[in-house]
Symmetry: C2
């Protein structure tokens, strides 16, 4: 990923998880590594990762956080800082984020602020983390008032992706992560969209060769978008396709009801439909997007959701400025634009078509 | 302060505290300002500051934190984030840090991480904050394991210094802050040292003209040092004169026993003496430093402190790398060097001369 001075390497492979240790310099005899992970990932990869470091004569300690979005809070952040102090992490040390997006986000925040920034390595083990949170340097925690409200831009030293970790992932999580993969096709690359359509079965079966290509192309697209706009002033906003309404749904339903990728899949479905209704996108293209979303992902049909409340929630998004809400809308498969003039009456009508009446 | 893209303005005056409001653009009708301050500063300047914004049609809310170093923790940080959300702070909003170093540090951290960074304005009301924490962009909170262990580099949009705020400061705090002023003379500018010696009485009486010059020259020196070394790899380390041992004393004595400036004054006295004992600094120059330190500041003589524990504490400093402890030592008045080869036996002997035997 090229970001001027702060560029870093993304290594994608199958069965290469132990190679993460090679990204830490073992010349410094006092090197200490803190591996942050969650309970589930720890039980599968924890020992393997510690051994990989010990084999290179690097002392590695493990810090385990509870599974789930609830861990992405200030208490976990404070616990990580305290753990780094206990493990003797200094400015030459390296922190490893081993797990999904929650682990990556809170660990990146903690690493980026401990001693005003120590190096960290991302080893994402979910498809969502591999194609999304591992690239772009956005790290954050949730506040009571909303998701990702506190955070910073902090780039990892490098990212090591082992697609075989996806074999141990529940299908629901695989499908949630694939919503973001479909997003990259819609916002940037019509031919990638074609590849996804042609290889849907192999993708869902985690065929190593196909999934490696899918992850690699997704990472490339994100890097292309982010690389030209590191601090989110312009182009980068197109990555929020499906996120304006998706975030609001997550908030309204309460954390834990929908996975992030499911809420985003729903938001993409609605945004795609709005694009068609506004005459920007051909209905046949909208159908193509919706069909692939359903095939690779899960598009929930939320019940007991009030459309007005959902729309009110979009105005609280941290990207909302001076009360204006940005929507990313499609003009064709592979091309989107950011609009802040979308009629809320239309939004409400389309939202209501996408929720279950009680 | 020139820091390439991130340069900002430092305005120094007498009676200019309300001018802070002029640094916020009032063209944005939805502009919101959050003024963070402590209980004491709020009682003196809170209303005045809110009015200054209201007169410019900018909605300002106040967030009050308890006085003292104990507030510089993760709980206050979380409280500030939540308060920003309640006050409707968005990416176009401005946060104002009105108070001493504690307010500045925790507010800067909160502003630098809320929505991944909103603009903030420093209005420092103590001499220490005016000459030290308001320049350089280092913001932090304390952890159980030590001071300033979690933080980041985050530059304010501008700094507004009203030296008349020093009139309401207790003498103990004025003297503590002046330790850092003496430091600038020792590390950088022999003629400034002469000015301080010639004007000691007026400085302690907070003569507006003299104290303005003292604050301005201190800020300039810090800016010169920091400007050439924004992320603390080299030259900036000379600002830690007196801090290696000073921080350790603060930790060992427990927060609240000594003011930061008092611990630094003590650390400077010890470092100056070590410099002379190592044959780097003339004894007459060492005496000159110690005399001015005693005249303008307070050099405590700690009791019940174990020299070995104090020295052990220096190894835990976040600037210690691979077990090596850096000491800033003087070669002359106006010139210092960083050394990591200081004999701990010598350090122990000099430390013991500077503590009260029980």
């Amino acid at each position: 990923v090229e970001l001027g001075e702060r560029s870093y390497q993304v290594e994608i492979g199958a069965g290469n998880i132990s190679a993460a240790a090679a990204h830490v310099n073992n010349k410094n005899k006092n090197a200490r590594v803190a591996i942050v992970t969650d309970e589930v990932v720890e039980s599968i990869y924890g020992e393997k990762m510690v051994n990989a470091f010990e084999e290179r004569n690097i002392t590695a300690g493990t810090v385990v956080i509870p599974v789930g979005e609830e861990s992405k809070n200030v208490e976990t952040l404070a616990m990580l800082w305290d753990s780094f102090a206990e493990l003797g992490i200094d400015r030459k040390s390296v922190v490893v984020a081993l797990g999904g997006g929650v682990v990556g986000d809170v660990t990146g925040f903690a690493a980026g602020t401990y001693l005003r920034g120590v190096d960290y390595l991302q080893v994402p083990t979910t498809i969502l983390a591999q194609v999304d949170s591992s690239v772009g340097g956005k790290v954050a925690i949730n506040l009571h008032a909303g998701k990702n409200l506190a955070g910073l831009f902090y780039q990892p030293r490098s990212v090591v992706i082992d697609v075989l970790t996806l074999k141990t992932l529940p299908e629901r999580e695989v499908r949630a992560g694939l919503a973001e993969v479909v997003k990259y096709g819609v916002i940037w690359d019509e031919s990638f969209m074609g590849y996804l359509e042609d290889n849907a079965a192999k993708i869902l079966a985690i065929d190593p060769e196909v999934i490696s290509h899918v992850v690699m192309r997704s990472v490339q697209i994100k890097a292309e978008v982010v690389g030209s706009d590191e601090t989110e002033q312009g182009l980068r906003r197109i990555l929020n396709y499906g996120h304006t309404l998706g975030h609001s749904l997550e908030n309204l339903a309460g954390y834990g009801v929908y996975l992030h990728g499911e809420a985003v899949a729903w938001g993409m479905a609605v945004a795609t439909r709005i694009s068609a209704e506004m005459g920007m996108l051909k209905y046949s293209d909208a159908d193509r997007v919706l069909e692939l979303l359903k095939k690779l992902s899960n598009v929930p049909k939320p019940a007991d959701i009030d459309a007005d409340e959902l729309i009110a929630g979009t105005r609280k998004d941290k990207k909302a400025q001076a009360g204006k809400v940005n929507y990313v809308l499609a003009e064709s498969v592979g091309r989107v634009v950011v609009r802040d003039d979308v009629d809320e009456g239309l939004v409400k009508r389309v939202v209501e078509e996408h929720i279950e009446r009680g």
